[in-house]
């Protein structure tokens, strides 16, 4: 026998390929699962799949180890010991579901607010959200609030889409690519594939990131920016582009609100709002006559500067003049921002020049006629080939919303949104605020909510407040004065608010795929305490916790009732256009997961369990008139549920004959058709609609035909964001409802309708000498948060994490690689191993995210390096800022969206006096494993699944 003696994967006649969708991260690539003797033996990328086109990352290839993980839960569990101990007994599903139904039914009959239902890295939010809506609790969201809502919300409010799931760089045509705050994660494979294409064409890549790893390591130029200052850098680039006249005026006039008139009436209640006609259409000033006329007037040539009298005698100024004046101010000059950003002025100026050169000297022209929404025919598509991408590095700050807005403004100023070579929307986007729901709250016993929980407020009138105009309706205080535009909710505030009974206590905390007792919370130690705290009667402050997970995570130990989920290869799922789509710019796509292997344990897919609970609770839409369940399981729901007539979770093969896309009756063979097609549907957008989707008639018609929108939706890019101005007016006392006094100054300052920059809140009043350094995390490409730790292969790549410390800091502190150090913030202290690094911003410490584990979790040995030397930075981050002068503690979040400001963290580091103890701190103690510990050796070969 030699190394070749075994037959290759498909040669022995015993293997079969089943095509489904990966779930090793949120990228959702197509995978070919090779089966032999009923077991999974190899997973590769699906070449036909629109997302990954055959490639697969380290996580995806290690899916086998996740699927056969010893940490998988086996059966429903009922807590027998104290919370946090990990002591459970196994129970039958009937008992588990009856128990859950009893708890949930009681709450629904009395006060549905007392259920907080939050799902973490859930990819079925349109279904879990619908369930919560039918149940009637206002307290539902997924994890966007602690992930990247600043990015998503800023994009939707500005132009109807953001990065990643909303759009992508035009990899084939761009001439310059710039990334801000992008670690090696979202979106995993498409960015790597795109970078490969750019490298092949020799296109310059500029990486803006405090840390020079991964994508930033191969960037042609690296700007090692100081955390929290990306907005300043972007506005300085805007300053330079305006100063040199490198903006696309034609684009600005056609597609943006640059010419719209803003009322200039400082004492009046309309100051800063758009001047509108009787129908509410914004006005512009005719460039010749100076008259204020409707922006919808055919052939109008609007002024971009000047002060014009309105029919009512007030005056108004075009957005563009306000914008130009703001960013031409010397405070945004490169020299003025250099010290703060850590990027020298010449470099900023040069890069602005490179952006301008690529955009205007290397314009891309496609000879393809198209017609805009006003009916004007264009002979060709003209592109400004500069593309940007950004992620959590710019959004997880308290100034993240405005920073993301600033980046979109930069894109728009050079005319690079949805043009050849620029950023391209992916169907169903663009979808501006006008096409988005408002948030819905309120709660009545035994009654469904009137509409979806999450949405996009147009102004203070859309907040979810009690009659006092101040108290939040939701447990996470989303859509309150704390976080008015919290489009994804605030998952990171649920436990602390419930524990503080502010605004009220809850009875049941119900969570899915959210490791809140560990890496998914700020300040994990204090969250563990909140989950275990008891009141004066000896009852837990958060009385009942139901949790669903596939694995023995840290959060399992803190729950009372565990509903064990399947692995991703054992389940049905739909990656739906109603949810977080996977389309590509030129194709409408969605996909499914299906059980390529049946579970060998007593576990059930969570979504099926949720539908079962819904039927037991007799929730509307989940039981028929006879009280019988409407859906047998999630697969049945995927095929037969209709959100609107003809619109369901999947867009492909609809209609009785399966010949409809987007709109059509449910097709009983739909899942079969998906499976036959490799697990996905891909329908190409007509060529005429490939670009300028925000203003393209062919796109609009196609989107309506395919059920993406019900009618034409106007999408004028909002350089000036009027909803923010409405909040300012309320804070100025000029509009109702008026926010409470203590919110007013912050709203006046931060809710600037033009993108702005302010220092991260954590810096406010900070003793810079005491906490001179920044500290951030990055996600490693090969390991995705906590799901990977029980993976025998991935943990050989990232089994422990070091704190990377800039060389100059090491020299100052006498630190060397391998030393133990103490790192302190205003709220905590950790003890960690350090490693010296020079390819990093000189004032920034960093580590890999979520490698540290609690002893006893994930079926790991209690001495596993994840538990002994691994650590979380989370222990240093409080969900609240230190008290201010008035004694109030503000959320450590963006004031506009509520996004957790993870990356505002300020710290100090010193060498630990103890260099002999080999344990990172804090040590959360051990939890008992309900699934035992993994085997000593793994020898995974064909048919051998250890």
């Amino acid at each position: 026998m030699n190394q070749t003696s075994r037959a290759p994967g498909t040669a022995d006649g015993k293997t079969e390929i089943r095509k489904t969708t990966c779930y090793m991260c949120a990228c959702r690539c197509g995978i070919n699962v090779h089966m032999a003797e009923g077991k999974v033996h190899y997973i590769e990328g699906n070449r036909d799949h629109p997302i990954n086109k055959g490639v697969l990352c380290a996580k995806g290839s290690a899916g086998i180890m996740q699927h056969y993980s010893p940490a998988r839960l086996n059966k429903p569990l009922l807590r027998t010991g104290e919370r946090g101990s990990g002591e459970f007994k196994e129970i039958e599903w009937d008992e588990a579901l009856e128990l859950a139904t009893g708890w949930l039914g009681e709450v629904r009959r009395t006060d549905p607010r007392k259920l907080a239902f939050f799902t973490g890295r859930d990819q079925s939010q349109s279904m879990t959200g619908w369930w919560a809506q039918q149940y009637g609790t206002p307290n539902y969201a997924a994890h966007g609030g602690f992930c990247s809502v600043n990015m998503a919300a800023a994009g939707i409010y500005t132009m109807g889409g953001a990065f990643w799931e909303f759009g992508a760089p035009d990899w084939e045509k761009t001439e310059l690519f710039m990334i801000f705050g992008v670690a090696e994660d979202h979106d995993s494979n498409p960015i790597k594939m795109g970078l490969g294409k750019l490298k092949e064409r020799g296109v310059k890549v500029i990486g803006v990131n405090p840390v020079r790893t991964g994508y930033n390591a191969i960037a042609d130029e690296w700007l090692g920016i100081t955390p929290g200052t990306d907005g300043l850098l972007i506005l300085a680039l805007a300053h330079e582009l305006l100063r040199t006249g490198k903006v696309d005026l034609d684009y600005l006039i056609r597609y943006t609100n640059a010419p719209w008139l803003v009322i200039d009436d400082p004492e009046g209640s309309g100051h800063g709002l758009f001047a509108r006609d009787k129908e509410g259409v914004p006005l512009v000033a005719d460039r010749t006559s100076g008259k204020a006329i409707s922006s919808a007037t055919p052939g109008v040539k609007p002024a971009l500067k000047g002060r014009f009298e309105l029919p009512d005698g007030r005056y108004a100024i075009p957005v563009f003049e306000l914008l130009a004046q703001k960013y031409l101010d010397p405070q945004y000059a490169p020299a003025a921002v250099a010290e703060r950003t850590g990027i020298d002025a010449d470099t900023i100026s040069r890069i602005a020049g490179e952006i301008a050169e690529a955009a205007f000297e290397r314009e891309v022209v496609i000879e393809r006629p198209w017609t805009d929404m006003k009916g004007e025919r264009h002979e060709r598509m003209i592109g400004r080939p500069v593309a940007f991408h950004a992620m959590r590095g710019i959004s997880a700050h308290s100034n993240g919303f405005q920073t993301a807005r600033a980046l979109h403004m930069l894109q728009i100023l050079i005319g690079s949104i949805d043009c050849p070579g620029g950023f391209r929307f992916k169907p169903p986007y663009p979808r501006p605020v006008a096409g988005q729901p408002r948030p819905h709250g309120g709660a009545c016993a035994d009654t469904a909510l009137a509409g979806p929980h999450l949405g996009y407020p147009r102004g203070p009138e859309d907040l979810l407040l009690e009659a006092d105009g101040e108290t939040a309706q939701r447990i996470d205080k989303a859509f309150s004065w704390d976080a008015p535009l919290s489009a994804h909710g605030l998952m990171h505030m649920v436990i602390s608010n419930a524990h503080a009974r502010d605004p009220y206590g809850i009875d049941v905390l119900f969570m899915y795929m959210a490791n809140m007792a560990w890496n998914s919370s700020m300040n994990s130690s204090s969250v563990m305490k909140m989950l275990t705290d008891k009141d004066e009667n000896g009852e837990y402050v958060i009385p009942k916790i139901i949790y669903s997970d596939a694995y023995s995570s840290e959060m399992v130990a803190f729950a009372d009732l565990i509903l064990p989920d399947t692995t991703y290869l054992e389940r049905h799922d739909c990656i739906s256009l109603l949810d977080r789509p996977i389309s590509e710019p030129e194709a409408l796509c969605d996909s499914i997961r299906w059980p390529v292997v049946e579970p060998d344990r007593d576990v059930r897919g969570f979504q099926s369990v949720l539908l079962d609970l819904g039927a037991r609770l007799k929730l509307p839409g989940m039981v028929g008139e006879d009280g019988a369940p409407v859906y047998t399981d999630y697969a049945d729901y995927i095929v037969n549920h209709q959100r609107k007539p003809g619109i369901g979770p999947l867009s492909g093969w609809r209609g009785e004959d399966g010949d409809k896309t987007g709109r059509g009756k449910p097709n009983p063979d739909q899942l079969k058709r998906y499976i036959e097609n490799g697990g996905f549907s891909q329908v190409h957008v007509p060529e005429e609609a490939h670009y300028f989707k925000h203003a393209n008639r062919a796109w609009s018609d196609w989107a309506i035909e395919h059920g993406l929108q019900d009618g034409p939706v106007e999408n004028i890019f909002q350089l000036y964001l009027e909803p923010l101005r409405k909040f300012q007016l309320a804070a100025e006392g000029k509009a109702k409802p008026v926010p409470p006094e203590h919110h007013r100054e912050r709203i006046r300052t931060c809710f600037d309708p033009l993108p702005t920059w302010y220092p991260p809140f954590a810096d406010d009043g900070l003793d810079e000498d005491a906490y001179p350094l920044h500290a951030i995390t990055q996600r490693p490409a090969a390991m995705y948060h906590s799901w990977g730790s029980q993976n025998a292969w991935l943990r050989q790549i990232h089994g422990e994490n070091a704190l990377y410390v800039p060389g100059e800091v090491c020299d100052r502190q006498g630190l060397e690689t391998g030393d133990w150090a103490r790192v302190t913030s205003q709220s905590g202290e950790i003890r960690v191993k350090v490693a010296r690094m020079d390819a990093v911003n000189g004032s920034t410490l960093w580590t890999w995210n979520a490698i540290g584990k609690r002893a006893g979790a994930w079926a790991l040995d209690k001495d596993a390096p994840e538990a002994t030397r691994g650590f979380l930075l989370n222990h240093l981050i409080d969900e609240l800022l230190p008290p201010k002068g008035d004694g109030r503690r503000w959320a450590n979040s963006d004031p506009i969206t509520g996004q957790a400001a993870w990356f505002d963290l300020r710290v100090a580091i010193r060498k630990d006096a103890d260099q002999t103890t080999g344990q990172s701190l804090p040590d959360a103690g051990a939890q008992k494993s309900p699934v035992g510990q993994g085997p000593a050796n793994v020898a995974f070969g064909r048919g051998k699944t250890a």
């Binding site: 190394q3 070749t4 075994r6 037959a7 290759p8 994967g9 498909t10 590769e44 990954n52 055959g54 490639v55 990352c57 380290a58 290690a62 010893p70 494979n189 594939m193 970078l195 490969g196 490298k199 020079r212 991964g214 390591a217 191969i218 042609d220 130029e221 700007l223 090692g224 330079e240 040199t244 006249g245 490198k246 005026l249 971009l304 500067k305 130009a324 020298d344 040069r350 602005a352 490409a781 090969a782 292969w793 943990r795 050989q796 790549i797 060389g807 690094m837 020079d838 390819a839 040995d861 001495d863 596993a864 993994g934 085997p935 050796n937 020898a939 995974f940 070969g941 064909r942 051998k944």
Partner: protein, 249 residues
């Protein structure tokens, strides 16, 4: 001791582009996944969920920090597997003939049931590209996925090593270095492909493409955005605007 062929008909190997590799480990894990099911015995992992996990990998990614005196520090990701050397010391050192280089395509392989696990080849290899399987105690190494590249049952486009097929950023290329027209030969010619540690005189078949020079922000000659003919002049931005709008008509 085992002898090497004088020459081989083909010289199959990899080109690895260090300018494009983001260090994501996709190739390493997919390699392990394919080859643990492909060889005579799996690629085992010991103490898999314990304090000291260790396993056999045929391809590993190393990460180095380079700190030039006159430029900012930089990270280089360096995937490393067997380089299928023409003068492979791991072959000549083998006492049993288990380790051998094929005359038809130059692939260096181990016949596992002839391997006595003495480890001499691992000592001889200057690249550390051999891996003793911790359970079977036989030597493992990159086979260039010899069971894929000649497979009749795989689609033709998949008859490439698993690491090349899976690499998301197209940093890995496979082909015949004896064919001057092959992609790998051209890439080496165009991009100045290099041998790893040529001083060891192993004549590796695999080649590495060096990282392209970076823009050095801190020391770059400033070339601020030059005002174009239409750019703002003394009358300022708003004055420029009038002229620019006039041009638009």
């Amino acid at each position: 001791m085992t002898s090497l062929p004088q020459s081989t008909e083909k010289r199959l190997g990899l080109v690895i582009d260090l300018d494009t590799c983001v260090g994501c480990h996709a190739c390493a894990v997919n390699c392990k996944e394919w080859n643990t099911g492909a060889g005579a015995s799996p690629l085992a992992d010991t103490d898999a969920y314990g304090a000291d996990v260790s396993g056999a990998w045929l391809n590993r990614i190393h990460t180095f920090e380079v700190t030039p005196a006159d430029a900012p520090a930089q990270i280089v990701h360096f995937p490393k597997s067997c380089l299928h050397c023409d003068d492979a010391p791991c072959v000549t050192v083998c006492p049993t003939g288990a380790s051998h280089k094929r005359s038809e395509d130059g692939i260096v392989l181990v016949t596992e049931d002839m391997c006595i696990g003495c480890g001499l080849c691992a000592w001889a290899c200057p690249y550390g590209a051999r891996e003793m399987d911790p359970v079977e105690n036989v030597m493992k190494k990159c086979t260039l996925c010899v069971d894929r590249i000649y497979s009749d049952s795989l689609p033709e486009e998949d008859r490439i090593p698993a690491c090349v097929r899976t690499c998301p950023s197209s940093a890995r290329h496979f082909g015949d270095f004896n064919d001057p027209e092959s992609d790998v030969s051209r890439l080496v010619a165009e991009r100045g492909g290099i041998d790893l540690m040529p001083e060891m005189e192993t004549r590796p078949v695999n080649k590495y493409l060096p990282p392209r020079p970076k823009t050095r922000s801190e020391r770059a000659t400033p070339s601020p955005a030059a005002p174009a003919a239409s750019a703002p002049k003394a009358d300022g931005f708003l004055g420029w605007l009038d002229a620019a709008l006039d041009k638009l008509g």
